[in-house]
Amino acid sequence: MNRAQRATHRGMATIASTAFPNADTARDALTARMTLLSSIARHAAAVIGPVRTSTWQIRPPARRGVEARTAHVRAIVAWLDALTAHAADAPPPPTSGVQDLGQVAQEWTRARELVQAASDLVRTHHLPGGALRSGAPHALADTDYTALLAPAIALTLAVSSQEPLALRCRQAGMSRCEVDQWLPLGDPLSDLAATVGRTIRFDASPLTHLTAAGAPVHTGDLAVEWQQRTDRIRQRLTLGAARGQVNVRTLHDIASLALVTTHVLATSGRHPTAQSARMTDLWRLQLAHLAPLRSIAPADRTIRSDVERLIHLAHPSTTERHPQLRAKLLAAIDHSTRTLDDCAAVADRLLGTGVDAWIPGTPRRAYLQDPCPPGTRARRPPPPPGSWPRLAQASPRTPGWSLN
């Protein structure tokens, strides 16, 4: 997007310093401008996501209906509507070579290609239905799109100004009617982009650090999916611990997964009954200890979505009509105990050395005076009830096992 901005500004600088040689060159520049605006519209829609875009564009049902959208959201929606109107009027990109176009059209065509590449990069993190994939960066899951939309808004402001371009087009010999068709008077796009721009911060965009999404989890094979998701949980937990960004809610999610895994392996007969019973009691204690805890760092949404999916897979109803699939899944679950033990080791270290865990204070009655500001009362949690149990210890690795 930064390179697209530079290309756009080079085009505007060329307009300011050099006249169009003829009307065809001016028309090429106008075509390139319209296609650039349409690519910006698609990029903004890709960043926000089709689901949220359609949700934001829902109007109140009646004239006196309550407007539930914030002013910031309304400004973004108005800007998107103006961009979409330009996208609807945009002609198809020129089929002739870029080198045949004028300098301005070449720069803006280059900017359009760069914006399209950025849009494709963002779309790799979305599912076909529009939802974010579970491994998407937190910047894309954040509902505050100001930092992500800042480059697109800056591009819009740079290219939406009409007067210098309209004067050059008239100078090149285009009629006033034709110029008014391409650049209608009273076009609100510039004002709408400026309105949105006033509400955001033009910080360094996290999109510059966005990479293409990695290989998706293979959901066609339950056993492979289980292994891939548990490996990803361990990887993200270890990475988060190294950065000091693990929330106790994430540890609670992993403890829930471990309890479910213990339950599944115990009921399948894979692990001895006595050791499974001891494991179950230890995990119940850990879960009860973690349930009320909170911390500053946000919960890892990727780990949470993976845990939710794994718990869904582990439930017997998921494979009740496919005994062979259930058998393969149980083998994968048993094999993943060492991965979960690695997660338990990380959790032990975090709970033993970290200070980012507390129990929120109980909200007081409204008629009682509270000297503490809202949301600041907390109390230190009790010490953990012991180390996290290791699932692999309960497995005797017996050759035979029964199905659940």
Binding site: W56, V66, A68, V260, T280, R284, A288, H315, S317
Partner: protein, 133 residues
């Protein structure tokens, strides 16, 4: 205290909360507490179907908290031992009903959180009871 009286008392307390999102948060918190109590009251080495409900309620509470729904204190009366499973099912049913209420004044973040929570609560109810809500 018998189950029906406990549910009536709890429902009356939660119905006094001002918005549907806060009532849903209260029901989710009650369900979460009941799930933890059901797990804790199980015999040693035994897990109950509450293991499928507890994480779903924890995630629901986190989503509602992140959406800005304030937590309200709901004082519960003690429940008779052994009634946790039935009380949990009743709470989940009421949670689903509360999440289905339409609140035109709710912010979009709260609407999103309630929609996700309704799906989770329905799945949790099916896993707990073996039937659809």
């Amino acid at each position: 205290m018998d189950l029906s009286t406990w549910i009536t008392h709890t429902q009356a307390r939660i119905a006094a909360l001002p918005s549907s999102a806060e009532r849903a948060s209260a029901w989710a918190r009650v369900a979460h507490s009941l799930a933890l109590a059901d797990l804790a009251s199980a015999p040693p080495g035994i897990t109950t179907d509450a293991i499928w409900v507890e994480p779903a309620m924890a995630w629901t509470l986190d989503d509602l908290d992140d959406a800005g729904v304030p937590r309200r204190t709901v004082n519960l009366l003690p429940l008779a031992p052994g009634d946790e499973h039935d009380a949990l099912a009743a709470c989940l049913r009421r949670l689903i009903s509360t999440l289905s209420e339409n609140d035109p004044l709710a912010p979009l973040a709260v609407v999103d959180a309630c929609a996700t929570a309704a799906g989770r609560a329905s799945t949790a109810f099916a896993r707990l009871t073996g039937t659809l809500p």
